[in-house]
């Protein structure tokens, strides 16, 4: 039998598109977990929240989900700063962030998910937009627009974040806060304020990621759980706190998952990311691109 070369190329391209989307999903965790050392395992739940908001507005007013998510950015940012404030007062200040902080976010994840189930039920929800359905064809390569649009949006989001982190004072302060809080104070920046801003940005990205998720696939409240492993796998794989590393790792994982589901069946694809995460943690905890 001939090796299905065309299938492989298509799988790789689909994987790259998927990877772009994964990058958007991971961006927030890369900031909170990678830079601030806050293990926000509830992040996927906020992404699902973003999906549902995009869904409601899209169904009621027919507005494009991505536009909705951008409008919602300030609200998510505010939510993020509130959560950080609670987290800071109850855990960081008392120096108990490890065990109880984790339990706190686990509880948040759970509460958000169950609330969504109570309000919307467990039916799958999807949005409508002009770019869902048609694909571009380049020779034998298919580019479905419902994957291409999220991927491009994700890359734009990622580029903006990267610019923010590397080119503004606040951004650099965010990078610095995880390394040396005292030095940051000497630079006349309040570490708590910087962390609050950073956590706000991290949750804000969940709004966009949520809209992209609901474009790519129908969403129900517990979908978020699948993303916990993926998100942390990518984050660790990319080297904690490195945005370019995260992007590369996301693409890599997307391609691997896509190849697995093309050749072995989609029921195996969740195991790819988690298995990869376990292997990375066991053998190269600093990540592929870590120092």
């Amino acid at each position: 039998m001939d090796f299905p070369f065309e299938l492989l190329v298509n799988a790789i391209i689909a994987g790259l598109l998927l990877g772009g989307f994964y990058a958007a999903v991971t961006a927030g965790v890369s900031i909170s977990f990678g830079m601030l050392d806050i293990v926000n395992i509830a992040h996927p739940a906020f992404i699902i929240l973003g999906s549902y908001i995009a869904y409601i507005v899209n169904i009621s007013y027919g507005i494009d989900p991505i536009v909705v998510s951008i409008v919602m950015l300030p609200a998510f940012y505010a939510l993020g700063t509130c959560i950080y404030q609670v987290y800071y007062v109850s855990f960081e200040k008392r120096g108990q962030e490890s065990l109880r902080g984790l339990a706190f976010f686990f509880g948040l994840l759970f509460v958000t998910e169950v609330m969504l189930i109570l309000v919307f039920g467990v039916d799958y929800r999807y949005v409508e937009a002009s770019y869902i359905g048609p694909s571009l064809h380049l020779g034998s390569i298919d580019l479905p627009l419902r994957m291409l649009v999220p991927c491009v949006t994700a890359l734009v989001l990622f580029g903006l974040l990267h610019l923010l982190v590397t080119h503004t004072f606040t951004g650099r302060a965010i990078m610095a806060v995880s390394q040396d809080q005292l030095a940051l104070q000497l630079m006349a920046a309040d570490p708590i304020r910087i962390k609050r801003i950073a956590f706000g940005i991290s949750i804000a990205t969940a709004s966009v990621a949520g809209a992209l998720l609901v474009i790519i696939q129908p969403v129900e409240p517990s979908v978020g759980r699948e993303y916990i492993g993926r998100v942390f796998a990518i984050c660790v794989l990319g080297g904690l706190g490195s945005l370019p590393g995260t992007l590369v790792a996301a693409m890599l994982l997307g391609v691997m998952e896509s190849i697995t589901s093309t050749f072995y069946g989609p029921s195996w694809s969740p195991a790819v990311s988690f298995g990869f995460l376990l292997l990375t943690l066991a053998f190269r905890p600093a990540g592929l691109f870590g120092r």
Binding site: S90, L99, R100, L118, F232, F274, G275, P285
Partner: protein
């Protein structure tokens, strides 16, 4: 009280509870009681690693499901008596717990937590794709209505209840014995300052491996009779997130530093959930657990036991 005498007292209490339940003559009590006892085992087991050592395990459901699926595996192969299956499940889950710990415990705490979550999904994917144990379709376990023990013939649900009672007592006795032994002090040093413990010669990795193994084995034991209890096992129910969240919420709400906390947490929260499931709905009961968990970690970080201790201390200093 010595461990032996304590176990005897526990057995006595367990027996009294069983007799009281029997006098009421309502079969549902045993159904509900089984679930609560199962949570006593899970939360005590979680607490050995999470409360004593300070390592959060999100993958309780994975160990629980390992136990349950060991039973299914042997049921298809050759139906063994449940006590034997419990021992087998303990060995399987203990080995997995050890392996898991060996792979990840050299890392910082948060990584361990994420890795346990990851392990739950990997195991679930494997079970879903493994046709022998039913795959995603699930597996049926046919159980008899009654069982003969010696000359007595008792209802099967009561038999399961008694088994789970013994497991609950075992896990309470084990976690109490650990807390009072040298092992428990070693665990406490890891929780308080791992680096300092390591520097003063505490073999931290070995202690943590002991903790993951014991904790995993106990969770597997809790899962072993589950297929017989529920009659039809599917991956989504064995790997349910409610096991993960409950086995964290119960010790934290009760108090994590002693063996009493998980017991109190499991009994309170377990009964509350049983009541809420019957009277309101099962989604609402999970919401209650989540909100209580968040509220307790924020407001009363040392749980109910901590609250009572603070109250006593305040009264004494007056």
């Amino acid at each position: 009280m010595s461990t032996l005498r304590f176990s005897l007292v526990c057995l006595l209490v367990g027996f009294v509870i069983y007799v009281c339940g029997h006098l009421f003559g309502v079969g549902y009590l045993f159904f509900a009681g089984y679930t609560i006892l199962q949570y006593v085992v899970l939360s005590s087991a979680w607490n050995i690693l999470g409360g004593y050592c300070g390592y959060v395990n999100f993958g309780s459901a994975a160990f629980f499901a390992l136990g349950a699926y060991s039973t299914v595996f042997f049921y298809k192969f050759y139906p063994l008596p449940i006590p034997l299956l419990i021992v087998i499940s303990a060995v399987v889950s203990g080995i997995v717990g050890f392996g898991m710990g060996y792979l990840t415990l050299r890392l910082r705490g948060a990584f361990f937590a994420i890795a346990t979550l990851a392990m739950a999904v990997v195991l679930q994917t494997m079970v879903v794709n493994w046709d022998y144990v039913g795959g995603s379709r699930g597996a049926y376990i046919v159980r008899a209505d009654t069982i003969e023990i010696g000359n007595f013939s008792i209802e099967y649900i009561e038999y399961l209840f008694l088994l789970m009672m013994i497991l609950a007592i075992l896990s309470i006795v084990v976690s109490r014995a650990i807390a009072r032994s040298q092992l428990g002090f070693g665990f406490a040093t890891i929780r308080d300052d791992e680096l300092a413990a390591e520097a003063s010669g505490v073999p931290t990795l070995r202690l943590k491996l002991i903790a993951t193994t014991i904790s995993g084995a106990l969770m597997g034991m809790a899962g072993a009779p589950f297929p017989y209890y529920i009659g039809y096992l599917q991956p989504a129910s064995a790997f349910g997130l409610e096991y993960g969240v409950n086995s964290i919420a119960m010790p934290i709400i009760g108090g994590t530093t002693s063996w009493v906390g998980p017991l109190i947490g499991a009994i309170l929260l377990g009964s509350l959930q049983q009541i809420a499931t019957v009277t309101i709905s099962s989604a609402v009961n999970l919401l209650i657990v989540g909100i209580l968990l968040v509220a307790f970690v924020v407001i009363a970080p040392n749980g109910l036991v901590g609250l009572v201790q603070d109250r006593l201390r305040a009264r004494r200093s007056k």
